[in-house]
Amino acid sequence: MTETEKLIKAKIPGEETGIEVKHSLCDICTPGLHCGIDVYVKDDTVLKVEGTPGYPGSGGKLCTKGASNRQYLYRKNRIKTPLRRIGERGEGKFEEISWDEAYKIIAERLNGIKKEFGPESVAWYTGYTKWFRPWLHRMAHSFGSLNYGTESSVCNTATVMAWQSIAGRQFRGDLPRNSDFFIGWGCNTMVNSYSQARGLFAFKERGGKVVIIDPRDTPTTQKIADIHLKLHPGTDGALAWGLAHLMIKNGWYDAEFVAEHVHGFEAYKEYAEKFTPEETERITGVSAAKLREVAQLYGQAKQASTYLPSASITHHVNGFNSMRAMISLQVITGNVDKAGGEVPMYTDLIYADCGFKTMQHDFIESRRPADCKPPIGTGKFPLWDVLVDEFHAMDLARQIEEGTPYPVKAVMAFGLNNRMFPEPDTILKALDRLDFLVATDIVMTEACRHADIVLPACTSMERSELKAYGGGFLNCTQQCIKPLYEAKSDAEILCDLSRYLDLGDTLMEKGYEETMKYIISNLSVSLEELRDSRLPLRMKEFAPHKPGELREKGFETPTGKLELWSELIASVGEGRTDLHPLPIWSEGFDAASEEEFPMTLIAGARIPNALHSRLHEVPWLRSLRRIPSVDLHPEDAARLEVKEGDRVTLASASGEIEVGVHITAAGLPGDVYMYHGYEEADVSRLIPKDHLDPYTGFPGYNQVRCKVKKVGVK
């Protein structure tokens, strides 16, 4: 081996090796993170990735998932060209066609359906991730439809809605810079967000106290928590009420703040009365003594901040009320709109609370159509209707099947994943009834196999994109390599398609680069400057809102106060017995019989090497946990006479899968944990399709009655 060969093998960048380092971001998980990556490229091929040193948030590190970006990019099942279906729906028989042919077919079909059934009969849908959503949203508008819908029908929106119902807008924990107390509800940050976990370690070094609420022992409960409340799944709301009871009874709350800024305290106080420590212990399994300890620490903290997750709590059918009950504790302790407590969020570019404005709002709103039929699902979740500018994906299958109140004939989809939907066969069956389905994706998926036209999208390393971060930062990533095969970026596909659809959207028709320029046209920075910088640049326009402003001006609620009793819910919930202005407590189980299904299934609790279904086919990650397995408590394993690696069937009232066994005492006896998104063992089959939170429409993935049986035993 020559010296140069040795250097190339070790992937040392430089002139001698011809290896260049380009700057992109990891788009595998949430836009709340999107860690910076250095991409090592030679001859238009990615050789490896590393975290970008000094990057906002990530600081040069990566998680398990992010470290796999190269293999994620070069997955074997990448879609290579546009495809036209020649077999039956679901069969997976396609012929390759050109982009021009694909666009012509799509434009002809969509415009035809629009002419016959109206623009709202075409639904524009996107799954994960979220980077091109402004383009899709504008496209739906330009087409003349409000039927823009996303995977946010099951992610994060419920948390935002809970905040909106109480405070008029979302707040976030100012964690944990200025606090002395931190409470993480359903928080396993060491696995899900290392950057936040690093912040918590630093917080603890400064003497901060950390309480974690989780039904499992996790790395976070073990290595960060000072106190871990290991409650029964789905009882977070009752636990919050139990804390409220003690805080009110002992005066561990901010009476002055409540008198000045809070609406509905009397009703709240009255409802809290029944959640005595003993009653709370009965419901949650958390000892009265531990409850008292936490209530006092929390109530007497100078500043308390929280972690309120985007999924784990709200993936219960009582999750919205649990979330409200958790937020209510921050209200009564006077920690809302306060440095070190909860600070208001003013989200802009792709959900980033970045502290400056872009033209995103105008980009979407300037094309909003007038006199449209209301979005799919309207009326089903009335609070969603008034708070969320998207159709609700959990009602899509019904409306396609029933055609009421109006028909949906086509879906133009990006990253549509049937495994996200409870009883996923239901959405597939509905999609098969459409006149026309387009599925855009990076890899061939089950949903793609049901489409009439399939379009190949690309990963973050194959495109350039705008990305904003907290603290006033903006990035425009470098395209590291040309897209593989004939793939294009989702936003580019939308811009191309706008020309073929002939919608008169002159900006989109100019192409993706011009739309990006428009989005930052109010800022004193150019795309070139952003792309030339190794790190995101801090905008001159950075002007963050100061906490406390809303206390002075009044909160953006009907009463101008923080509403423990939500007047918004009181008005939209009129005539609905399942919607209550107070975050009242109820059980979160499905309707199945406890006798037949004595165990509790928690579907989707995170593991380090997976994210939904997108990483199951990445061999580096799959090698860390090869077999889809259910986590069983040793006591349950003994009773069922199964050992590590055995096969079991996991069944609920709606379905059954066969999986491997992993024995761990992390959870409580009787609770079983199963990760989602496996094609060969899709746990969403076990989630009943009507098991939805009435406020938000979020499925109760995390609490379903189930049973486990050893394979081969009757």
């Binding site: 093998k9 290392y194 370690f201 990650l621 860390l624 005492a665």
Partner: protein
């Protein structure tokens, strides 16, 4: 260069596997055809109803008195005098597996072509001022390559103590 060793802070490690994946990315390992160099494990113990995890990330331990060096009939393995790392040149490797049989940790692995490969502490990267890939990625700085004189024995001691408890079923 001074004598170096890998150090793991088991208090910070969560066995997330980022190190194992970064190692596979650096060394072009396909886990479907070759055993990776680095592995993570979570060992669980239950004491008085409380659960404890011991988290481990392991690759070649770069033993001072490395049995693999003695075992190889072709002399492929050696101790790097400058760093103390166990390094190799597999040009002469005949794929006899003597090294892995001698290794108490089963660290050496074999490529699809049957040639021995293993962790060399990312020698070439280090010569160019870069950390080993596994260390570079670790989100909690739990895994480090440290100079032997700076190493705190106490970190491995903690891991070993927990391992002994796990092993004895306590």
């Amino acid at each position: 260069m001074k004598q170096v060793m890998f150090e793991l802070d088991s208090e910070k490690c969560i066995s997330c596997g980022a190190c194992a994946v970064a190692c596979m990315d650096q060394n072009d390992i396909d886990p479907e055809v070759q055993v990776p160099f680095r592995h993570v494990h979570t060992l669980e113990t239950v004491e008085n109803g409380n659960v404890f995890y011991t988290n481990i990330s392991m690759a070649c331990m770069h033993c001072t008195d490395a049995p693999c060096v003695q075992a190889c009939p072709k002399g492929c393995l050696s101790k790097d005098p400058a760093t103390g790392l166990t390094v190799y040149d597999n040009t002469g490797c005949i794929g006899c597996h003597s090294c892995v049989m001698a290794c108490p940790f089963g660290a050496p692995t074999f490529s699809a072509a049957g040639k021995m490969m293993k962790c060399d502490g990312c020698m070439t990267r280090r010569e160019h001022g870069m950390e080993p890939a596994c260390v570079r990625v670790c989100p909690f700085d739990a895994l480090k390559l440290v100079e032997v004189e700076d190493a705190s024995e106490n970190k491995w001691d903690k891991v070993m103590k927990r391992l002994r408890q796990t092993g004895s079923g306590k």
